[in-house]
């Protein structure tokens, strides 16, 4: 993040970079476990994979305390309004990761019951492929999101 280091212990950077850096380091997650992917999301937070390394092991049950919504699983037509409401309750800045094939595109269930891609309901920043994506994939998605936020690609 440091653009220039001054001679006597000063650290100079732009305001934007500093803000982005603070945003990426403590991205709290709203639990939005829906289906299979939610179990992998739990596994990501648990012992073997340890999401705490990235400063985001805090899964918040209340959307008002969360910055990031990981839509983990298939979104049904009945669930879509609920999802949107949870998204609206989150405070800005907020990001969305669409985890898994079903959340991203409807997956293999191209039928009457499912929303074919959660991006019909909320804006999505990162899509994580897989059915379900393993913990490594999810972590890669999260790091990608952090990179995007850091580089200023996503501005809110």
């Amino acid at each position: 993040m440091a653009h220039r280091s001054g001679p006597s212990g000063f650290l100079l950077t732009t305001y934007d970079t500093a803000v982005n850096w603070t945003r990426t380091r403590s991205m709290w997650t709203a639990t939005f476990g829906l289906a299979c992917c939610a179990i992998e999301m739990m596994a990501t937070g648990a012992a073997h994979n340890d999401l705490a390394r990235f400063g985001m092991e805090v899964f918040r049950a209340s959307p008002r305390q969360a910055d990031l919504m990981i839509v983990a699983g298939r979104v049904s037509q009945k669930m879509a309004p609920v999802l949107r409401q949870v998204y609206d309750q989150m405070s800005e800045p907020k990001w969305v990761i669409s985890m898994g094939a079903c959340a991203s595109t409807g997956g293999m269930f191209n039928n009457y019951a499912l929303v074919q891609g959660v991006d019909e309901v909320v804006p999505v920043d990162v899509y994580v492929p897989g059915c379900p994506p393993g913990p490594q994939s999810l972590m890669h998605g999260i790091l990608t999101l952090q990179d995007k936020v850091m580089s200023g690609e996503i501005t809110r």
């Binding site: 639990t31 939005f32 476990g33 829906l34 289906a35 299979c36 939610a38 179990i39 992998e40 739990m42 596994a43 648990a46 012992a47 073997h48 899964f59 049950a61 959307p63 699983g73 298939r74 049904s76 037509q77 009945k78 669930m79 879509a80 309004p81 609920v82 949107r84 949870v86 609206d88 293999m108 269930f109 191209n110 039928n111 009457y112 019951a113 499912l114 059915c131 379900p132 393993g134």
Partner: protein, 478 residues
């Protein structure tokens, strides 16, 4: 959606898709009332217009207390710390509490409507369907070859059992015999899957009652099994490994050592859980005498699996209707006496041990031979044969393009999943796709039994009871 024009054309006159008149009137009236309340208190003016078209869940919410004939069975039975004897409060003192569908303790997207009298729950109504995926419709568009890909995503904590039930049903239509090694591999994987599913239950039961470290422990031990599954099937979940005709591949080299390690680690883990839970006063207080269901209620509501066994019903499909050669292995069916959350905990922990025992027996007695049936109409030929034989190539091509046909008929096969009786009802019309596939999923009944377990107990018992039912919402809604 509903107006997509690829409708099946038949010589039968298509009936109207609307509900009969008197019914639609009564429900729409209720829905209209709810909608007004919804608009007044919840929606406001910020809700986008497109959403209004399908937000109304009105009539699925609780009816007025006067309107709903409460069957005795939904009242549950008297439990030591229950408040059934108390004088009920007046209607205007009752409070409606909505729990879910986005609530961490509902294990997914279950929604409960609770009518509270202070701290006491007077009425409960589970509202489901938030994960309805239309899998039974999708199954009608997939061949029997592809079908196990679909069913494995229903109960995502025990995908192996879903695949096994589906495969058994298809094989029973086809009349195919599976070689002994294939059957033993099936038993090995399903019993390991039972352990991994129960480990997630232990993790969530602990977490919901405040022992958050259980989440770490449970998922830690589950990870060892998942690693073995990944090595064997290529995926951590949703394996599509057990298929009609056998299993997809043989076990990987060195599986014996892996299994021995898993048994050792999980057994050690389970003894740690027992240390953590058994003498824990908080855990005991919050589980003993909570969420009671009697054997009669279990039978009437179709509750099966560890919950029924916790109520003292000695019934296990592995003993009653053995499948896939499970009768060759020696194991006990643990039962409880009181039908409360504590007994279900005891039963499940004991089931983990018994399943590990079965896994060990499979390890010791794994027969040699083929892992799938030789019938080339059902299973693809080995990769090597495709290069050598034209016939094998044709079989392979036919199988993966059009699948195989099952004789017309219908069948119901059930297996004992970690949650209970998991049945698969398949109607075949003689073609390569099922005419109708229905999954009888245990969690559906268990969610239905929640009012029986919860009525007239305390708010704090809700999470303990839900967790002890171990519902998987993919299993409920399908």
């Amino acid at each position: 959606m509903s107006d997509t024009p690829n409708v099946v054309t038949g010589d039968l006159e298509a009936p109207t898709t609307e509900a009969p008149q008197e019914l639609s009137e009564s429900t729409s009236e209720v829905a209209e009332n709810r909608r007004e309340v919804h608009d007044m208190w919840v929606a406001g003016s910020e809700e986008p217009g497109w959403m209004r078209s399908y937000t109304d869940e009105g009539a699925q919410e609780m009816l007025d207390a006067g309107d709903e004939p409460v069957q005795e069975i939904y009242r549950g039975t008297v439990v030591t710390d229950d408040f059934i004897e108390d004088e009920p409060a007046d209607d205007d003192e009752l409070q409606i509490l909505n729990m879910g569908p986005q609530h961490p303790s509902t294990h997914g997207v279950l929604r409960l409507h609770l009518e509270l009298d202070g701290e006491t729950i007077r009425r409960v109504k589970p509202i489901i369907g938030y994960l309805h995926t239309g899998m039974e419709k999708t199954a009608e568009t997939l061949t029997y070859m592809q079908g196990s890909t679909n069913v494995t995503r229903m109960d995502y904590l025990s995908p192996m059992h879903m695949e096994l039930a589906f495969s058994l049903a298809v094989e029973s239509l086809l009349g195919v015999e599976i070689p002994e090694r294939g059957q033993a591999i099936r038993i090995l994987l399903t019993e390991l899957n039972r352990v991994s599913s129960h480990l997630v239950w232990a993790a969530t039961q602990g977490t919901d009652l405040g022992a958050v470290s259980m989440l770490i422990y449970g998922l830690r031990d589950r990870e060892y099994i998942l690693q073995f599954f990944e090595k064997t099937t290529g995926l951590r979940m949703n394996h599509n490994f057990i298929r009609p005709g056998g299993v997809a591949a043989d076990l990987p080299d060195g599986w014996e050592e892996d299994i021995e390690q898993i048994i050792g680690k999980v057994e050690q883990g389970v003894s740690e859980y027992e240390e953590l839970f058994n003498g824990n006063p908080i855990f005991r207080d919050r589980t003993i005498g909570v969420g009671v269901i009697t054997p009669e209620e279990c039978k009437a509501l179709g509750v099966s699996g560890p919950i029924a066994r916790g109520s003292g019903i000695n019934w296990d499909l592995r003993k009653a209707f053995p499948y896939s050669g499970i009768e060759k292995y020696d194991f006990e069916v643990p039962t409880g006496k009181h039908g409360d959350v504590w007994d279900r905990y005891i039963v499940r922990i004991e089931e983990i041990k018994q399943s590990l025992g079965i896994v060990r027996q499979v390890l010791e007695t794994m027969p040699a031979g083929d892992y799938r049936t030789e019938d080339r109409k059902v299973t693809p030929p080995p990769r090597k044969r495709i290069d050598e034989s034209m016939e094998a190539l044709i079989h392979h091509f036919k199988l993966f393009t059009s699948g195989f046909k099952a004789p017309a008929g219908e069948t119901y096969r059930a297996v004992e999943s970690p949650r209970g009786e998991l049945g698969m009802y398949i109607v075949s019309d003689g073609r390569e796709r099922p005419w109708r596939m229905h999954a009888r999923t245990p969690s559906f009944n268990h969610v239905q039994a929640l009012p029986t377990m919860m009525t007239d107990s305390l708010v704090a018992d809700i999470v303990a009871t839900i967790a002890s039912c171990d519902p998987v919402l993919g299993d409920v809604d399908r």
